[in-house]
Amino acid sequence: MDLRFTPEEIAFREEVRTFFRTEIPAEIRAKVSEGRKLAREDYVTSQRILNDKGWAVPHWPVEHGGQSWSAVQRYIFMEELMQAAVPLPLQFNCFMVGPVIATFGNEAQKQRFLPRIKSLEDWWCQGFSEPGAGSDLASLKTRAVREGDHYIVDGQKTWTTLGQYADWMFCLARTNPDAKKQAGISFLLIDMKTPGVTVRPIITIDGRHEVNEVFLDNVKVPVENLVGEENKGWDYAKFLLANERTGIARIGMSKERIARIKRLARSTPAGAGTMWDDLDFRSRLASVEIELKALEITQMRVVAAQATRDPTKPDPASSILKIKGSELQQATTELLLELAGPNGLPAQRDEAGHNDMESLFAWADTAAPTYFNMRKVSIYGGSNEIQHNVIAKAILGL
């Protein structure tokens, strides 16, 4: 047992750290750190820089542009990326549809889609959730009926994150209405420019446009855009969701936010000094740091165990990462909002300009939206209640 990184791993960490902090534009990283809205171009710029370096999709098979990194290297890469406040390579492209096509797609699909997925020439969105389904994903109602060399797709998707930017959607649709729930579902790739696709914004409690409803009305999808076998889509979705869950602890993001809180606390007036002088505040911050350090080790244990696991089956331990990781992400946003205090109330204070004192609190505008927005992390990707059910069944045998 040796819990330290090897000298090679430390060198690797330095390499990626330096790259992130020198090559990804500081303005983009500042937006991420400060919880400000990223433009489509910010995502694209950042991912192209990674892609040019060969780092947009290091976890993919080497033949499609991946790196032959160890699990530890991949872990280091993601942690450093988050701690440098680099935008995550677009999840839907790099962690979802890409691996599915690389694993289950046919050669033509691989050739056509994968290069544009990793370069973000195509922006993908996810068409899984439906109104009324929630965590019971398999009860989806969208139908795809085969007519000649097309499917005709009808239905409605929701919670489609960043769908307003998307060129393509990967979508679950019911191709056999007579089969049992999970059976009879297929995995389709839909061009968002196809007639019949309508995107409607949903404004979330942070006041932003991040998610959408997508209406599919008589949408013609060529049969060549079916991934894998008809009616086997549920298997591919499970594979994809397992990928989603392992990355969900977002420890690097929480670390980055804690570091930011510490910096801000030193300049935030409180009483005769600053919030940094408030040992009570710092003790509560330390409590979160402690749990986060524990979770980081837990994550490293899961990463180390991945070497000997069947990669197509989800590790139930990832549910622990999901539960605790989301709780800690939320806890950091609560501390950020506490730090902002009454200066966290204004929504668009900058419309008024600042004097020196208010400019000390210019950051505070995004504290509440960040707090509001992060309530989602215990809901999406399988709510924390669902994760509890998963562990109770799969690990505890209850």
Binding site: S129, G132, A133, G134, S135, D136, S139, T158, W159, I202, I203, T204, I205, G207, V211, P269, A270, G271, A272, D280, F281, R284, E334, L337, E338, A340, G341, P342, N343, G344, L345, P346, A347, Q348, R349, E351, A352, G353, N355, M357, E358, L360, F361, A368, P369, Y371, F372, R375, K376, S378, I379, Y380, S383, N384, E385, H388
Partner: protein, 384 residues
């Protein structure tokens, strides 16, 4: 000991509830009002005047109705339930509170008729960006000059300042930034030369402004209450604000809990209503416990806000606000969690309750601030 409302109080509650339910039956009406330039519609304010609510806390000899803390509780809870956006807190409870507690008869005669008939609104320009929740932290200055004072400084997050004709401004007439002594209150017309407002929406759907005072002249008659000794009055103004916020939060939590229970009963998943899942049931029960604890402390705040003993009052009000804050956070977060995705959207009414509850936590002192105040004094349980 008697928890029943008097007939008059019950009538008041029913009146306000009925008005609020009629005017704000849903999100659409609420959003329409919020989109108005001031964040509410002036004709609604006039309706509140007609209902007698704007004169409620003022003495009968001043044209008011002599209502006390229980009446405030009833009104704030009913308005809170409906998320009514009118500036009752800013204008009547805070601004009006300042006049009520410190105004000379001349000042009351000059302003209260307009406040009560709805033609004049007030705002309380006290907080400053560096002060957080410390009421004694005032950097704004008032220099004595011939015939009056000249004010300089910046007031931060002044609730509904853009809707006010007259501002109650605190400024330092003596002492250093954090001294307890040396603070004085002034009545300042919002359109006085040198007053600039920088208004903005707040994250709970309300409005506030930063108020810049640049060499603003006010005459000696603008001094409200005692020279150099306004801090105890400011405390009592904020105490009234705390009672109003506690009651408002109870109304919000009650409505949000009802929405959640309704959702648990109707929302189906895995073929059954999600309210049949024991883990969710237990969380809904914990919400109820938190709500009932908050309701009790709102009553306690109303009971204690007029207590003679300043320390006893301070401990009680801080205890109430700390409990309200804790309950508000738990109820708000749990409601969103139990709703799942829909609770995350602005299209859902409950999300607005959640946002307002979060804002209440940040207003007039958060949980650590008030808990420490309880801890640093004699506390609630005597140890003799």
């Amino acid at each position: 000991m008697n928890f029943d409302l008097s007939d008059e109080q019950a009538l008041l509650r029913d009146t306000v509830q009925r008005w609020a339910a009629t005017i704000y039956p849903g999100l659409e009406q609420l959003e329409a009002a919020r989109r108005a330039p001031l964040g509410f519609l002036e004709n609604r304010w006039a309706e509140l005047a007609e209902l007698g609510l704007l004169g409620l806390p003022f003495a009968e000899e001043d044209g008011g109705f002599g209502g006390g803390p229980v009446e405030l509780l009833v009104v704030a809870e009913a308005l809170g339930r409906a998320l009514a956006p009118e500036p009752y807190l800013a204008s009547i409870v805070l601004g009006g509170g300042a006049l009520r507690l410190a105004g000379s008869q001349a000042q009351k005669d000059a302003l209260l008729p307009g406040v009560i008939d709805g033609s004049v609104r007030l705002a309380f320009a006290h907080g400053e960006a560096q002060a957080r929740y410390d009421l004694n932290d005032v950097a704004t200055t008032a220099r004595a000059v011939e015939g009056g004072y000249r004010l300089d400084g910046r007031k931060s997050v002044v609730l509904n300042a853009d809707a006010a004709q007259t501002l109650v401004v605190s400024a330092r007439t003596a002492g250093g930034r954090r001294d307890e002594a040396g603070i004085t209150l002034f009545l300042v017309p919002a359109d006085a030369p040198g007053v600039t407002l920088a208004p903005y929406p707040t994250h709970d759907g309300g409005r506030a402004a930063d108020v810049v005072l640049a060499d603003v002249f006010v005459p000696t008659e603008a001094v409200l209450g005692p020279q150099d000794a306004a801090l105890p009055i400011i405390e009592r103004i904020i105490d009234g604000g705390i009672v109003a916020l506690c009651a408002e939060a109870v109304g919000l939590m009650e409505a949000l809990h009802e929405l959640t229970i309704e959702y648990l009963k109707t929302r189906k998943q895995f073929g059954v209503s999600i309210g049949s899942f024991q883990a969710l049931q237990h969380k809904a029960v914990d919400m109820l416990v938190a709500l009932e604890q908050a309701r009790s402390m709102a009553l306690y705040a109303a009971m204690m806000v007029e207590a003679e003993d300043a320390e006893e009052r301070r401990v009680a009000l801080s205890a109430a606000k700390a409990q309200i804050n804790r309950s508000a956070r738990f109820v708000g977060q749990t409601a969103v969690q139990l709703h799942g995705g829909i609770g995350m959207t602005m299209e859902y009414l409950g999300a607005h309750h959640f946002r307002r509850l979060a804002a209440i936590e940040l207003t007039f002192g958060d949980t650590p601030f008030h808990t420490r105040r309880v801890a640093s004094e004699k506390g609630l349980v005597g140890a003799d």
